[in-house]
């Protein structure tokens, strides 16, 4: 981010993120209690996670597995020093029953990784990852007698969350803007969801962000004084906190004030960051090795096995969709946002549907339906097989796009075979020239005034005639054949009408294929970019106003 004010120096933001990712294990990191969100307070507790004397923590295999998987996906080296250990981070706070948190200090599980972000209009960029370590979550405090901490008479503690497995992922200060910060956080969420190691549920706090931000003259190499911002629970909050804090710090520097190294809280209500009084000993955690847990030391075969099992990640899919499949970067981004959607898309393409057609279908009507019904793609009755069958019917010329559009609501509702439905309901496209010629003749005979107007130069009326033919055939006519027939019929007996002054200037134009708007264009969910090439608004009956008194005949 650079400031736009012209007078003096331009500034840039230097941003690093710490992200806490809650691992999707059944049980806590060091005990066998449930991790279920929303249970009655203090039902997911036991002697271990409430810090009773004499209890011993034992590491959850699944949590370790998830953490190594995440680290591998983030291109990290797994304990580059040969092993990783747990440490006690000591501080007193009522949400921490043992008065220390089991975390990792100098030998984290993984280090030296990176992930790639894509911001609209910028080249893809790698953001370094300093480290990834495992730690346990704290409990939840409810402040009684007041909305806030200050003014409360006492506090209530729920330890259901205490001891839940977290991964803390710390980035390098490689992020330069609010958009990049959001892109980083979103990509991280996408990756952990792809891996299945975290549900990514922001409302339940499965992902939490802390932000480190400083400013410096653009392009400089020295770091300014950094400020830490906590309490960011959405991508939106993250982005706005960066924007607010950047402006605040630049103003500070410009007016000659000193920036204080401190922790600030994002206040959602006022959309500002607020200074927290800093406690002098706050950072004196006196870490020491956790004596009750043994180190983690994976051998190179185990680490390789994690790499091999990883599967294709979002960035790799994006590259492949653009490169090999020839999709736009927009389509690639939308399709790979969720693994389920990407896999659905790949299954449709594997059934011989062109990638661009499948992409438009998914990003158009399917996305709109999912949005409307709040379902996930794996739940719907239009399976990849159903989609491929429907699109193949269009490609084989058996049905028109318009018929496909008409079939879709029923398919979403009840599923079933599009081919069977087409046969059963007699919706097969009419491509027979002779059969269509008869209908075209009938239509033209009944619209003599419009025919005259067309021949007088109002060639835009072609769409009107196409519409009439479609109406007569209940949408089953092959639009290409109808267009051909109409054009040749209307050109047949050129009388010489007095040219209308306005229309004489109109150049001859290609027939508008209005009646066969592609399937993917039939929904508002198609964005300008996705639909621009083909998106003619959904099949309209009256593409141009016919000569008005003709309406009586119709």
């Amino acid at each position: 981010m650079t400031s736009t004010a012209p007078p003096t120096v331009q500034y840039e933001a230097v941003i690093g993120l710490e992200v806490h990712v809650q691992l999707s294990t059944e049980t806590k990191l060091f005990c066998r209690c449930s991790t279920r969100f929303g249970n009655t307070p203090n039902t997911n507790i036991c002697p271990i996670c409430t810090g009773q004397p004499g209890t011993l923590p034992v590491l959850n295999q699944q949590a370790l597995d998830y953490a190594v998987r995440a680290a591998t996906a983030l291109n990290c080296q797994i304990h580059p020093q040969g092993l990783s250990k747990f440490d006690r981070k000591q501080y007193f706070y009522p949400d921490l029953p043992k008065n220390y948190q089991i975390s990792q200090y100098d030998l984290p599980l993984a280090e030296h990784g990176w992930l790639e972000i894509e911001v609209e209009g910028e080249a893809a960029k790698r953001i370094g990852i300093t480290r990834l370590h495992m730690e346990e979550d704290a409990g939840k405090l409810v402040h009684a007698g007041a909305d806030r901490l200050s003014g409360s008479t006492h506090s209530l503690v729920d330890f259901n969350r205490a001891g839940v497995a977290l991964c803390e992922i710390v980035s390098e200060p490689d992020i330069r803007s609010a958009a990049q910060a959001a892109a980083y956080a979103e990509e991280l969420r996408r990756i952990v969801r792809y891996l299945g190691v975290c549900d990514g549920n922001m409302q339940e706090g499965s992902l939490r962000f802390d932000l480190n931000i400083s400013v410096r003259p653009a392009g400089g190499s020295k770091f300014g004084t950094k400020v830490e911002i906590k309490n960011l629970n959405s991508f939106n909050a993250l982005q706005r906190a960066v924007e607010y804090e950047f402006t605040r710090q630049v103003d500070c520097v410009r007016s000659g004030e000193r920036i204080v190294q401190e922790t600030r809280l994002w206040d959602e209500a006022t959309q500002r960051t607020i200074s927290m009084r800093s406690k002098e000993e706050a950072n004196d955690y006196r870490y020491f090795p956790e004596p009750d847990l043994v180190p983690i030391a994976l051998d190179s075969n185990q680490i390789d096995a994690y790499r091999q099992r990883l599967g294709e990640l979002p960035a790799q899919k994006r590259h492949r969709y653009c490169g090999t499949l020839g999709l736009s970067s927009y389509d690639a981004r939308v399709l790979t946002d969720e693994r389920e959607v990407a896999e659905y898309f790949e299954q449709v393409v594997a059934l011989d549907i062109p990638a661009k057609q499948a992409a438009n279908f998914l990003n158009g009507p399917v996305a709109a339906y999912l949005n409307e019904t709040r379902q996930s793609i794996s739940q719907i009755k239009v399976t990849p097989e159903v989609s491929a069958e429907l699109l193949a019917l269009i490609n084989q010329g058996i049905i028109s796009n318009r018929i496909a559009n008409e079939l879709l609501p029923g398919l979403f509702e009840a599923g079933g075979s599009p081919r069977a439905l087409v046969e059963e309901r007699g919706l097969t496209q009419i491509s027979d020239r002779g059969q269509l010629e008869e209908i075209v003749n009938e239509v033209l005979a009944g619209e003599s005034d419009s025919v005259a107007a067309y021949r007088g130069g109002r060639t835009k009326l072609l769409g009107f005639f196409v519409g009439k033919v479609m109406k007569k055939t209940a949408g089953r006519a092959d639009p290409q054949v109808v267009n051909d027939l109409l054009q040749s019929k209307l050109a047949e007996q050129p009388t010489a009408p007095p040219p209308e002054p306005e229309s004489a200037a109109e150049p001859p134009e290609a027939p508008p294929a209005v009646e066969d708007a592609p399937l993917e264009a039939a929904t508002e969910a198609v964005t300008a970019e996705a639909g621009s090439a083909e998106a003619i608004t959904a099949a309209s009956e009256e593409p141009d106003t016919p000569v008005s008194h003709q309406d009586a005949h119709a």
């Binding site: 294990t25 059944e26 049980t27 066998r32 209690c33 449930s34 009655t40 307070p41 203090n42 039902t43 507790i45 036991c46 002697p47 409430t50 009773q52 034992v58 590491l59 959850n60 295999q61 699944q62 949590a63 370790l64 020093q81 040969g82 092993l83 250990k85 000591q90 007193f92 706070y93 009522p94 030998l107 405090l141 409810v142 402040h143 009684a144 901490l149 200050s150 409360s152 008479t153 006492h154 506090s155 209530l156 503690v157 729920d158 330890f159 009084r277 406690k279 000993e281 004196d284 006196r286 090795p289 004596p291 847990l293 043994v294 180190p295 983690i296 030391a297 994976l298």
Partner: protein, 95 residues
Amino acid sequence: MIDREQVKKVAFLARLELTEEEQEMFTRQLGSILDYIAELQRVETEGVPPTTRAIEVNNVVRPDELVVCENREGILENAPDRAEDFFKVPRIIED
């Protein structure tokens, strides 16, 4: 090696109240422990891999299987104060 002020700070961080005599005693005792460590630190360790534990055991894990603790009530009852389902703690003073 260690002075009285450092002992007082460590005691404060650990929320320990020490009498004058205890401060004196711990300064002396901690000093002698630190002297011993200083002696160890003079050992040549070039090329010796770091050790985090005295036993050669790594990767002790348990399966991710839920076992509900049967003594939830006992844990809540054992706390100095409770309010129904919650543990109740005194007002948290930010200072």
